[in-house]
C-alpha cells in the first residue's frame, strides 16, 4: 500500500475526467448511436396479469407502412434458448417475448420492427392478440400457498427458492435471553428507474460474422448470456463498453432486450434498435426491485445486548425470474449489520407472482434487510428504555476486534463504528437536534430523529451464486486493466466495462497516475469491447474502487517494474540501485543520473539494443486481472462463505416532521458520517453518498410500483411513480472517517451503495421516533403521506406526550 503521506493524486480534489463530455452535451449514450439503415422496435404488451395467448394475428401490422417484421413469442422461443435463471429452476422458462402464456400485465408479447419508432408504434396497435385470461396471484404471501395459481406451470409451484440457514446456536441463544421481540416489516416494490431507459442497438455483420451490440448496459456476463440465448459462440458477440450509461444503480441488465434486438438484427440483416420508452421501461422492462415481506425476531438481555436474530424474508420476484432471487444472497454477507450478534437464522424465500420482473438494485437486496435490522435495534432500545445511540454503541463490533468473523462466514476487514457514529452525532449536533424535536413536540408538531447505521460490503466475488444455486460453482469475479505506454511516453489504460456515473475513468487514471507519478489528467482511459477486452464484471457490488482500482494499480506497478529494469540498465545500475519516482528512474547514488519514463518507453518500443538482456518483449504494456481479495472458496454445507472482501460503514442522522393533517414528511438536518477507507476522489465519493441517500429517501417515503388486486400496475409513469425532486431531498452534510482496508491497493473500499443502504433505515427510524408519542408505528415502506395520516387519524392529539 502506498503510504498516505506520500500520495500526490489519490484523495486529492480532481475534476472527474468524464464530466467534461457531459456538461457539453457530448456524451455517448446508446440513443446517440446510429447505424445506417437502422430499424426500430416497438412492443405489443399483454393487458392481463395472466393469460394464455391463444392466437396472434399480425397481418394488418405487417401490411402497415414502414413495417419490416413482426415477431411473436412462440416464434422466438422456437429459435432461442430460455434466458438464464439465477436459482436452480429448470421448469421456469422465460423469453424476451411471452411464449404461449403472458405472466404479468405489460409483458411483451410481440415485437414490431419498422423504419421509424413512430411507425412501429402505429403498427403495434394493429396486432390482434386473442387472450384467454388465467387465474393470477399478486400477493407474495398468497403465492406461498401451494394452491395459488402457478405463474410458471412447469415449475409446479410459485416457490422458486426456499432455504433456512442457521448460523450458530440460535435456539440456545433465544432460550438463554430474558427478552425477545418480533415484528413484521414490508418493503414495497421500488426500483432505481434511471432517467435514461434501457436501450440497445444490435447489428449483425455477415462479413465478419460478428453481432455488434451497443447498449446502456451494466451486466456481468452480458455477452455470454446473449450468446447463450441466441445459440451463438460467445466470440460472435461484441458488446461495446464505450457507451455511456445514463444511470443504472444495478438495473441496466437488458438481457431480454438484447436477445430480442440481436435476434432481429440477425434475421433482418439490418441494425435494429430497441430504446425503451418510459412506459415499456416501467411496465415491461423487468427492472423493478426488491418487494419484500420480513418477519424479524431478536433475543436480547437487560442491557440491550442482542444475542441472536431470526430473519424470514419473502422476496416477490414477479413473473420473470432473472437474477432477482440472488438479491436474497448479498444480505448474508453482513447479516448482523455492525453488531456482535452471536447467531442468526435466515429463512430466504423467493416466490413468483404475476408482476413485472426484477433486476438487481443498488445494494443487491441489502437496503431492505438493513431496515429490518436497524428497526430491530431501535425496538430493542425502546424496549429497554435506552437511547438508540447507546444500544448501538453497546452492540457494535469494536475497533480492536477487526478482522471480525460474522456467523454467516464473512470476515469484516476493518472499521471503527464507534468513531464514525460519534462523528455523525457531532456533525448533526444531536443534542441541539433533540432539543429542537422536543420543542417542536411541545408546539404540537409531530417530530422525530432518525438514527441508523449500515454496512456496505464491497468488491463482490459473486459467492451468492453458489450459495443460492449449488450448480453454479463460481468462485471468482475478476476485474482487469491494461496499461500501455506509447513510444512518446503517453499512457493509455483500457478498462473492461462501461460507466454509469461512478467515474471509472477518473478512478483508473488517478491510481495509475499515483503509481507512476504522472499527472492523471494526461492519462487516457478507454473502454474495451467484449472481444478485445479482458475479464470484467461491471460496476456491481460497490466493487470498482476495490477491483478496477486494484487492477489498475497492479498493471501500473508492472509498468513501473519494467521501467525500473530498463532504466537501471541504461543508467548502468542494478535495479536495486535506482528508484522510480515522479515519472523517472533515478540512480540512488547520483540524483543527476535520471531517465524519464518517456525515454524508457522509446527504448522499449524502438531501441531493443538498449533493453536489458532478460527483457525479451518489446513495447511497454502491462495487464492485470485481479481476483477478488479473499475470494475463491465455495460455501460450506451450512452456507458459510466469505462473500465480499471490504466493508464500508456509515451512520445517518436525520430530522423529520410529519404534518398532522396531511401526513407529509419534511426531512432536514441530514447528516452522514461514513468510512469507505481511502477516498480516491472526494467529489465523486461525496456524490455517491449523497445521491445514494436521496435514492433511499425515495424508497422510504415516495416510490412504489403498486398493483391493483387485478394485477394492473398503478404506477407505470413518472406521474404516479414518484421519484424525489430537489424539493424532497434535503441538504445532506457529510463527515468522513478512514479505516483503510488491508486488502486493497490503497486502502479503498466501496462507496456506491452505502447512501442507499442507510437512508431508508434512517428515515424509517425518524418516522417511528416521531410516531412514538402516539404509541403507533409504521413498518411499511414507502411511508407515504396518506399512510402516515391514516395511522395518525385514529389517534387524538391528547395522546401526545
Amino acid at each position: 500500500m502506498t503510504e498516505h503521506s506520500t500520495r500526490r493524486f489519490v484523495s486529492a480534489k480532481r475534476r472527474p475526467k468524464e464530466d467534461g463530455r457531459f456538461i457539453t452535451g457530448t456524451g455517448h449514450f446508446v440513443a446517440d448511436v446510429t447505424r445506417p439503415n437502422m430499424l426500430h422496435v416497438a412492443l405489443v404488451t399483454s393487458p392481463h396479469a395472466a393469460a394464455k395467448i391463444v392466437s396472434i394475428d399480425t397481418r394488418a401490422a405487417l401490411a402497415a407502412p414502414g413495417v419490416a417484421e413482426v415477431l411473436t413469442g412462440n416464434e422466438l422461443a422456437a429459435l432461442a434458448n430460455p434466458l438464464a435463471n439465477a436459482v436452480d429452476t429448470p421448469g421456469v422458462k422465460c423469453y424476451p417475448l411471452a411464449a404461449g402464456v403472458a405472466r404479468y400485465a405489460g409483458e411483451w408479447v410481440a415485437a414490431i420492427v419498422a423504419e421509424s419508432r413512430a411507425e412501429a408504434e402505429d403498427a403495434a396497435e394493429l396486432v390482434e392478440v386473442e387472450y384467454q385470461p388465467l387465474p393470477h396471484v399478486i400477493d407474495a404471501e398468497e403465492a406461498l400457498d401451494p394452491a395459488s395459481p402457478p405463474v410458471h406451470g412447469e415449475h409446479g409451484s410459485n416457490v422458486l427458492y426456499r432455504r433456512t440457514f442457521t448460523w450458530g446456536p440460535v435456539a440456545e441463544d433465544f432460550a438463554g435471553q430474558p427478552h425477545q421481540l418480533s415484528f413484521k416489516l414490508r418493503w414495497g416494490r421500488s426500483a432505481p428507474v434511471p432517467v435514461e431507459t434501457f436501450g440497445v442497438l444490435a447489428e449483425w455483420n455477415a462479413g465478419t460474422e460478428i453481432l455488434d451490440v451497443w447498449a446502456s448496459i451494466q451486466m456481468p456476463s452480458y455477452a455470454e448470456q446473449i450468446a447463450a440465448a441466441l445459440r451463438m459462440p460467445v466470440n460472435e458477440v461484441r458488446a461495446h463498453y464505450d457507451v455511456d450509461v445514463g444511470g443504472s444503480y444495478g438495473v441496466k441488465r437488458g438481457i431480454k432486450h438484447t436477445v430480442l434486438a440481436g435476434f432481429l438484427a440477425r434475421r433482418l440483416r439490418r441494425p435494429v434498435r430497441l430504446i425503451e420508452d418510459r412506459l415499456e421501461n416501467m411496465v415491461g422492462g423487468d427492472m423493478h426491485g426488491p418487494d419484500r415481506h420480513f418477519n424479524v425476531a431478536v433475543a436480547f438481555d437487560d442491557d440491550g445486548l442482542i444475542k441472536s436474530m431470526k430473519l424470514r424474508v419473502i422476496e416477490d420476484v414477479g413473473g420473470q425470474t432473472g437474477r432477482a432471487a440472488f438479491q436474497l444472497g448479498k444480505p448474508v454477507s453482513a447479516i448482523v449489520g455492525a453488531y456482535r450478534i452471536n447467531s442468526v437464522e435466515y429463512e430466504a424465500i423467493a416466490v413468483s407472482t404475476n408482476k413485472t420482473g426484477q433486476a438487481a438494485v443498488r445494494g443487491f437486496g441489502m437496503s431492505p434487510t438493513n431496515v429490518a435490522i436497524e428497526t430491530a435495534v431501535d425496538k430493542v432500545a425502546r424496549h429497554r428504555g435506552l437511547s438508540r445511540l447507546e444500544v448501538r454503541r453497546r452492540n457494535f463490533i469494536r475497533a480492536d476486534q477487526f478482522p471480525y468473523l460474522i456467523p454467516s462466514g464473512s470476515e469484516y476487514d476493518s472499521g471503527d463504528y464507534h468513531t464514525v457514529l460519534r462523528k455523525a452525532v457531532d456533525l448533526a449536533g444531536l443534542d441541539a437536534l433533540l432539543k429542537r424535536r422536543d420543542t417542536a413536540r411541545r408546539d404540537g408538531k409531530i417530530a422525530g430523529i432518525g438514527i441508523a447505521t449500515c454496512l456496505e460490503p464491497g468488491g463482490g466475488n459473486s459467492a451468492f451464486e453458489p450459495l443460492l444455486n449449488p450448480k453454479n460453482e463460481t468462485t471468482t469475479w475478476p476485474e482487469s486493466c491494461v496499461v500501455k505506454v506509447d513510444r512518446s511516453g503517453g499512457i493509455t489504460a483500457t478498462i473492461a466495462t462501461s460507466t454509469s456515473g461512478q467515474g471509472h475513468e477518473t478512478l483508473a487514471a488517478t491510481i495509475i497516475g499515483e503509481e507512476l507519478g504522472i499527472d492523471p489528467d494526461t492519462i487516457r482511459v478507454v473502454h474495451s469491447d467484449t472481444l478485445s477486452g479482458l475479464p470484467g464484471n461491471t460496476p456491481v457490488a460497490s466493487r470498482m474502487a476495490i477491483m478496477l482500482g486494484g487492477a489498475a494499480a497492479g498493471a501500473a506497478r508492472k509498468i513501473r517494474d519494467q521501467a525500473i529494469l530498463i532504466g537501471a540498465h541504461n543508467l548502468k545500475r542494478t535495479p536495486e540501485q535506482v528508484r522510480y519516482a515522479d515519472g523517472a528512474v533515478t540512480a540512488l547514488d547520483d540524483q543527476a543520473q535520471s531517465i524519464s519514463l518517456a525515454r524508457i518507453a522509446l527504448i522499449a518500443h524502438r531501441e531493443f539494443h538498449n533493453m536489458p538482456p532478460d527483457l525479451t518483449e518489446p513495447g511497454m504494456q502491462a495487464v492485470h486481472v485481479l481476483q477478488v481479495p479473499k475470494g475463491g472458496a465455495l460455501p460450506t454445507a451450512d452456507g458459510r462463505v466469505q462473500m465480499y472482501p471490504c466493508y464500508s460503514f456509515a451512520a445517518h442522522i436525520v430530522y423529520a416532521e410529519i404534518d398532522r393533517l396531511t401526513g407529509k414528511v419534511t426531512l432536514s438536518e441530514y447528516s452522514i458520517a461514513h468510512d469507505c477507507g481511502t477516498v480516491i476522489n472526494p467529489d465523486i465519493v461525496r456524490g455517491m453518498v449523497i445521491g445514494g441517500a436521496a435514492h433511499g429517501i425515495g424508497a422510504a417515503l415516495y416510490e412504489e410500483f403498486a398493483y391493483e388486486p387485478s394485477g394492473q400496475l398503478l404506477s407505470g409513469t413518472f406521474v404516479d411513480y414518484v421519484m424525489p425532486s430537489s424539493h424532497e431531498v434535503p441538504d445532506i452534510k457529510l463527515a468522513e472517517h478512514c479505516t483503510p482496508s488491508p486488502l486493497t491497493s490503497h486502502g479503498q473500499k466501496g462507496v456506491g451503495e452505502g447512501g442507499y443502504l442507510g437512508a431508508p433505515a434512517a428515515v424509517a427510524s425518524a418516522i417511528n421516533d416521531a410516531l412514538s408519542p402516539f404509541d403507533i408505528e409504521c413498518l411499511t415502506l414507502p411511508m407515504r403521506a396518506s399512510l402516515l395520516s391514516d395511522l395518525l387519524a385514529d389517534r387524538p392529539a391528547e395522546t401526545e406526550s
Binding site: 415516495y702 404506477s715 424532497e728 396518506s786 395520516s789
Partner: protein, 294 residues
C-alpha cells in the same frame, strides 16, 4: 411513445380557429401550451386527427381589466400570469394558485385557458376559478356564450365545451371594495409541483373590525370537480374568524365530497384532509388579510 399521426394547422386568427373546429366534425383538438395534451398524445390516450395551434392568435393572449373584473385570454401563459402585477393586485387568489401549477418549464408553455379547458379536477387554476366564480367564454362560428365555471366544469376531464367551441377567455370577478383581502392556496401533492391530492383555495375579506365580509372558498381532490365550499363561506361571513370557528365551519365541506381511492391516497384520506386543508387556507388568508388591515 410517439403521437399518432395528425394534421397540423397553425391558426392566425380566432375566426380561423372557429372555422377549423366547425369543419372538423369533432376530430380536431386545439393545442395551446400542450403541457397535458402533448403528453396524452405521446401515450396515445388522445389522438386527434387535426391539431389547431392557437399559439399565434394574438386575440387569444393578454390580460386586461374589464368592467366586470379581470379577463385573461385563453392562450395567456401561466408564467405571464404569474408575473402579472394586474393579476397579483386584482386576482390575488389566482396569483396564489399559480406557483403550485407544475414547474417553471411547464408554466412557460402552459396556458390559463388550456388548463381550464383540460378539466383536470385537481388543477389549481380551475380550483381558483371555482372559488371565485369565474366565467368562461366559449366561441364557435355559431355563437359566443359565457358560462359560470360551475356550469362549465362537469366532471373529471369533462367540460361543457362543445366539439366546435374554443374557450377564448376567462373572467375573474372584481374584488370587493373596502375590505382587507387575503388569499391563500395550499395543497398536498405526492411531490412538489405534482398534481395535488388535496388542494384548497380561500379568498377572505375582512372589514375594519376584522369581521369576515367576504369568503370565496373551494376544495379539490375529493370530488370529481373542484367543490365550491359555499356552506362553509356562508357560516363564516359575519364571523371574526377565530380558529375554532374556521375548523367547525370547514367540516361543512364533508357532505359535498365524493372522494375515490387511487395509488397515492385512500378515499378516507381525501375526505379527512379536504376540510382540514380548507381550514388551513382560510386561516392563512385571514392572517394575510389581518396583516393588511390599516
Amino acid at each position: 411513445m410517439k403521437a399518432a399521426a395528425f394534421e397540423y394547422c397553425r391558426a392566425e386568427s380566432l375566426r380561423q380557429v372557429l372555422e377549423e373546429l366547425s369543419g372538423a366534425g369533432g376530430e380536431a383538438r386545439i393545442i395551446a401550451g400542450g403541457q397535458s395534451l402533448a403528453a396524452m398524445m405521446a401515450m396515445r390516450l388522445a389522438r386527434p386527427e387535426r391539431l389547431i395551434d392557437i399559439n399565434h392568435v394574438d386575440a387569444l393572449a393578454g390580460i386586461e381589466a374589464v368592467d366586470s373584473g379581470i379577463t385573461i385570454k385563453a392562450c395567456t401563459r401561466q408564467a405571464a400570469a404569474l408575473q402579472s402585477t394586474l393579476i397579483a393586485r386584482e386576482v390575488p387568489l389566482l396569483a396564489a394558485a399559480l406557483p403550485h401549477v407544475g414547474h417553471i418549464q411547464t408554466r412557460n408553455r402552459g396556458t390559463i385557458g388550456g388548463s381550464i379547458a383540460h378539466g383536470d379536477p385537481t388543477a389549481e387554476i380551475l380550483l381558483a376559478a371555482t372559488a371565485l366564480g369565474a366565467r368562461v367564454t366559449l366561441a364557435s362560428t355559431a355563437e359566443t356564450r359565457v358560462l359560470a365555471i360551475s356550469a362549465f366544469s362537469l366532471g373529471a376531464m369533462e367540460t361543457a365545451a362543445r366539439e366546435n367551441e374554443c374557450l377564448t377567455e376567462v373572467t375573474f370577478p372584481k374584488l370587493p371594495q373596502g375590505l382587507s383581502i387575503g388569499a391563500a392556496v395550499d395543497e398536498i401533492s405526492p411531490r412538489a409541483g405534482d398534481y395535488a391530492l388535496i388542494a384548497a383555495a380561500a379568498e377572505i375579506g375582512l372589514d375594519a373590525e376584522g369581521v369576515c365580509r367576504h369568503a370565496r372558498l373551494a376544495s379539490s381532490g375529493a370530488a370529481p370537480v373542484p367543490v365550491l365550499a359555499a356552506p362553509v363561506a356562508e357560516v363564516l361571513v359575519g364571523s371574526p374568524l377565530n380558529d375554532a370557528e374556521i375548523d367547525d365551519a370547514a367540516r361543512l365541506l364533508d357532505p359535498l365530497l365524493d372522494p375515490e381511492n387511487d395509488v397515492h391516497a385512500s378515499a378516507a384520506y381525501r375526505r379527512r384532509v379536504a376540510p382540514g386543508m380548507l381550514a388551513r387556507v382560510i386561516k392563512a388568508a385571514r392572517d394575510q388579510a389581518r396583516s393588511r388591515m390599516t
